[in-house]
């Protein structure tokens, strides 16, 4: 996958992700990490550039053609972004039934299985406001998985959580990695990125500055900006 363009927020972003690979996106606040993910799912419209999945170019120009992008990508947000008026089950099942017009009974069965997979088999009928932040985020992950995406995009999924709830969400992501899910993860949890990512991209001021295996990025940064960033992070 490559993305390149001249836009205000992002420029010179070029990144390839292999099937089954987990790529971490790190960088200071405002470096454009989340913007990349939001652009991929069509929440922001790129002015130029190209995204291709398995050789097919994704067309971001219209609502209709965007559907293709949404077949490929699913996103999990920092604030979970669950539908407050729906149960956990309905949150997970609604898009496949509504958008992809799949059979309701079959989707519901899959949704239950997904909720069980993220450890929430007991909570299928709970509303978001009855769940903890960690549980809500796991519902959000199940909801993204229900779309059967080629690539799962995780946008600071633990940033809004209380520290004691971070573990359960990270465990869920670890399990996905073991199952071979292709993921693009934006996170400040450097230890976690180092653990699950096969490669890490460092962004600064809207550009990819350095890409490499975690060991290289964290232990032997080449660019001064990355060196500066990691030293500040590690000081914490």
């Amino acid at each position: 996958m490559s993305y390149g363009g001249k836009v205000d927020v992002l420029r010179d972003v070029s990144l390839d992700v292999e099937r089954g690979e987990v790529v971490g996106l790190i960088g200071p606040s405002g470096s454009g990490k989340s913007t990349i993910l939001r652009t991929l799912v069509g929440l922001m419209k790129p002015r130029a550039g190209r995204v291709s999945v398995e050789g097919a170019t994704v067309d971001y120009s219209s609502r209709g053609s965007l559907r293709v992008a949404r077949d490929r990508f699913a996103i999990v947000f920092q604030q979970y972004n669950l539908f407050q008026n729906m149960t956990a089950l309905r949150n997970v099942a609604i898009a496949p039934t509504l958008v992809k017009k799949r059979d309701r009974a079959q989707v519901d069965a899959e949704a239950r299985a997904l909720l069980a997979r993220v450890g929430l088999a007991e909570k299928v009928n709970a509303y978001p406001d009855e769940l903890s932040g960690g549980q809500q985020q796991r519902v959000a992950i199940a909801r993204a998985l229900a779309l059967k995406p080629d690539i799962l995009l995780l946008d600071e999924v633990t940033a809004a959580l209380d520290p004691e709830l971070v573990g359960e969400v990270l465990d869920t992501i670890r399990a996905l990695q073991r199952d071979g899910m292709t993921m693009l993860i934006v996170s400040h949890e450097m230890g976690f990125i180092r653990e699950v990512a096969s490669r890490v991209a460092f962004l600064d001021q809207g550009s990819v500055v350095e890409v490499g295996p975690p060991a290289e990025i964290f232990d032997a940064p080449k660019s001064p900006r990355l060196r500066d960033f990691t030293s500040r992070i590690l000081r914490h």
Partner: protein, 224 residues
């Protein structure tokens, strides 16, 4: 020489008045549901639509909020026939009340759109919801919940407003009260009974709305 209340001249007419109350409720429900649908479409247009459509909606709202309902129905009832459109009294009143309620419900629901959680819209957009799907499945439940009190108030207002129908030959509760009054001259008796029926009607409606809100939208409203 004091006036003495004698209800016996009026009580035989109570079933007739209750028949009018049914009509009153019918008109209120029809105009509320239609007005609510108009308001929802309008609020969607104001939020998502192109500029000319937004201007058209704004003109509609401005017109209907700034002219009396009586004048609006008068127009539909007496002026449209000159243009070859002759609506039955019931249809004219129902349409007039719906258009009028539509304007108010546009304003109310616009506030609901403004209070939307951006996160839910993002999620729906990212998952590929169309605008109508988003309005129906995400925005509407939010509006119903967040705006439940003003929406149910609007319904009660619709119940009261139906009394205007009497002027246009619809025999709802107020119209029938006038009829019984002219027959018996027992004004105090007729209109006190009518007032009690209206109070009962609004109490029942409020209770029904509160229960509906609780079951449908999980509105944590106290009942009475």
């Amino acid at each position: 020489m004091n006036y003495s209340l004698i209800y016996s001249q009026v009580t035989p007419h109570i079933p007739y008045l209750l028949g009018g109350a049914v009509l009153t409720l019918q008109l209120a429900v029809i105009s509320f549901v239609a007005g609510w649908a108009i308001g929802l479409v309008n609020a969607s247009v104001l939020h998502f639509g192109p500029r000319p459509a937004r201007a058209a909606v704004q003109a509609y709202v401005t017109f209907f909020i700034n002219t009396p309902l009586l004048v609006q129905i008068f127009f539909i009832f007496f002026v449209l026939p000159d243009a070859g459109i002759l609506l039955s009294p019931y249809a004219a009143v129902a349409i007039g009340m719906s258009l009028n309620a539509g304007a108010y419900l546009t304003e109310i629901q616009r506030a609901g759109f403004q209070s939307l959680r951006r996160e839910e819209i993002d999620a729906a957009t990212a998952m590929g919801f169309s605008v109508p799907q988003m309005v129906w499945y995400v925005i509407l439940p939010h509006i119903a919940k967040a705006l439940y009190p003003p929406l149910s108030n609007q319904f009660i207002i619709q119940v009261m407003t139906t009394s205007i129908a009497a002027i246009f030959a619809v025999e709802e509760l107020t119209g029938r009260a006038y009829n019984v009054n002219s027959l018996t001259f027992r004004s105090l008796e007729v209109f006190s009974i009518t007032a009690v029926i209206y109070v009962a009607l609004t109490l029942v409606c409020s209770l029904a709305l509160a229960l509906l809100g609780r079951w449908l939208f999980r509105v944590k409203a106290r009942i009475l």
